[in-house]
């Protein structure tokens, strides 16, 4: 397929980043210029999207601008397939071409004019993201961003990145419109990713960007932006996509759809309402045939549309299916879904939440088989409660253990403790399969945690005895201590793998545990 070919071309061209700058130029035609390092991205693929999408996106992302004719083909087919995927994967790599990526990115003025902004604007990667400097470490960062840590960075980055991007964009001249768009898209995209950095980089490159715009272009861009929204999960990868889209300077491309990064929602409305002059020209099958709403790059939705378009050469597909839709902006939302801006925003929010739930699923042990938000939430709540109970238990234990810390230096202690953790406790006579599952971060050290429980059990016995002996005047509360300890221990053990030795005491349920609990 042409797409494949273009993909390969792109890949090769990725190496020649400079080509991009050279090819840039056709002020009027933005579409072809969009080849972002999407190809690079795909190769570097942090998280590759289904091949369909990848091929599509790569087509758009090509850094080296293929001849407009070729691009048209690709773009059309790609429109359906969101490029987000390729973007996401290749972001750091592909995009950065040392050269001035100032791909003439026509800010989707049309989109902006539509005035539809994504309600939840996360940091959106500016299209110029593609201009990221090829930073090998960046890829790793990007990869990391998509995971937990990304949240941290994002939190920090959002306001910062946004402002930077905004500022830089304005400098770009004529990019004001695009700015808003970008910011929106960026926010969507970056939510999981360390967007600040990308935003900054992107914005830097924005200076070069020329505001070549045509309403068509902008529409297209918005489309792709919308699509790439889904890519957010890919983290950087997504940003790559966005930037690729932005640089799409081929005027004829309907690939604007590919652009869609988070701005999908935003654009969807605007684009739909807009008339596109060029829609007819370029066989953008994706655009026309695609669903009217482009929101994200839902893999399946896109592939379905993509398949359609790719099957026939985008041109045919688009034209055949959509002469009536020519005037509408490319599909932003998924097929058969509401185009209402509210529902789009809702969808974005829901996807964000589901992405976070997936992340939590990895954190909480034993949640792999659990499906569904409700059960998952229950598991999470149980886990957090158990951890807090363990903290309480351990603090009680530490209070009874009277440490002779006078002579111990903190550093010495810390080192001892840190090193001793590698070695399972010697007092672990029992099978260590207790809360094995609840050592998610360091499985290698999980031996300690399970070991702790049986050890604790021993300690509780001895402690009980010592405490009992010490207390002549027993306060009710004190007597409760060993009982609650055992209860707590048993509770925890029971809940999370209770194959350890059972104490003779009966479990009184969480009552005793709750007595101990003052506050988390």
């Amino acid at each position: 397929m042409e797409i494949d070919i273009s993909e390969k071309d792109k890949l090769e061209q990725e190496k020649g980043n400079d080509d991009n700058s050279m090819t840039y130029q056709s002020p009027g035609s933005l579409t072809s210029d969009w080849h972002f390092t999407g190809a690079n991205v795909t190769t570097s693929a942090l998280s590759l999207v289904p091949s369909d999408d990848a091929s599509c996106s790569s087509a758009t992302m090509e850094e080296s601008f293929a001849p407009p004719g070729l691009w048209d083909h690709q773009t059309s087919s790609q429109n359906t397939g969101f490029c987000d995927i390729s973007v996401g994967t290749g972001t750091p790599v592909g995009i950065v071409t040392g050269g001035p990526v100032s791909l003439s990115w026509n800010p989707p003025s049309s989109v902006l004019r539509s005035g539809i902004f994504l309600p939840n604007a996360h940091g959106i990667l500016p299209p110029s993201l593609c201009q990221f400097p090829a930073d090998p470490a960046f890829i790793e960062r990007a990869a990391r961003f998509s995971c937990f840590n990304s949240g941290n960075i994002c939190d920090m980055a959002h306001p910062f990145g946004m402002s930077e991007v905004m500022g830089l964009y304005s400098r770009g001249g004529g990019m004001m419109q695009g700015l808003q768009e970008l910011s929106l898209a960026q926010k969507n995209m970056m939510h999981g990713v360390g967007c600040s950095r990308e935003a900054r980089d992107a914005s830097l490159h924005m200076d070069h960007a020329k505001p070549e715009e045509s309403p068509l272009e902008s529409d297209r861009k918005s489309e792709s932006l919308v699509r790439s929204q889904d890519e957010v999960k890919l983290g950087l990868d997504r940003s790559g996509v966005d930037s690729d889209e932005a640089e799409f300077s081929g005027g004829d491309q309907d690939d604007a759809t590919m652009l869609a990064a988070n701005g999908g929602k935003l654009y969807a409305k605007g684009l739909n309402s807009k008339k596109r002059k060029r829609n007819g020209q370029v066989g953008m099958p994706g655009v026309t045939t695609d669903d009217p709403e482009v929101q994200r790059k839902g893999g399946k939705n896109l592939t379905s549309t993509t398949n359609k378009t790719s099957g026939k050469n985008a041109k045919q597909g688009s034209q055949a299916s959509d002469p009536a839709k020519e005037e509408y902006i490319h599909v932003r939302a998924r097929r058969g879904q509401a185009t209402n801006s509210h529902s789009l925003a809702e969808r974005v929010r829901r996807e964000k939440i589901s992405e976070r739930m997936k992340f939590l699923q990895d954190l909480v042990p034993g949640c792999n088989k659990v499906t569904g938000k409700a059960v998952m939430l229950d598991e999470i709540i149980n886990y957090v409660q158990s951890l807090q109970r363990q903290v309480e238990f351990l603090s009680m234990k530490l209070a009874t253990v009277n440490p002779r810390m006078d002579f111990n230096l903190e550093g010495l202690l810390a080192k001892d403790i840190l090193t001793s953790r590698a070695v399972p406790s010697a007092s672990l006579p029992f099978s260590p399969d207790l809360p094995m599952s609840y050592a998610p971060l360091h499985p290698s050290q999980s031996g300690l945690v399970p070991a702790g429980f049986p050890a604790m059990e021993n300690h509780s016995d001895t402690l009980r005895r010592t405490i009992g002996s010490q207390l002549t005047s027993t306060s009710g509360e004190f007597k409760q201590l060993p009982d609650s300890w055992n209860n707590e221990l048993h509770n925890v053990i029971q809940m999370y793998g209770s194959s350890g030795p059972q104490d003779s005491q009966e479990l009184t349920g969480p009552v005793a545990a709750s007595n101990m609990k003052d506050e988390p």
Binding site: K352, I353, R356, I380, I381, T400, E410, G411, A414
Partner: protein, 161 residues
Amino acid sequence: MSATTEQLERNFTHRFLTSLRRINSPDSKTTTTHAAGLVIRRRSLRIKRAAYSSMARAAGSHRAWTRALLSRARSQRRRQQHDVHPNYIPPAQRRKSSVKRAAAAGREMGRAGKLRGLVPGGSRMEMGQLLEETAHYVQCLAVQVRVMQAVADHFSSSSSM
């Protein structure tokens, strides 16, 4: 990720041990007046609060839950210092924030409300942010438990030997 976790561990261990030493060594007002049982209980409370504060500081203040936890600790400390009885809540504070927030968290039925109650500062966040904070909170809690377990083992083993 593991590098961050290890760094967090080291940071937390350091702070926690510092506060442990501070709690254990002076022992000014613990032993004399109260019964032995209460002494232990009070000390365990302080240790627990110290553990959470150390973890919040080690994790950094760019997280919403760490800020919420630290501000809660600060207000609790102020309350304890000023009022004799720790359960006493100044009327103004009781009226304004805590009740409303608790009610808001409780009003949201079901699991989300429960989760908000568990994660510090959770009542103010919306769902997306809540989940993110929960993830980070869970990671830090796991580290905290691990370190505390190691410390307890270390001390108990050294004292028994």
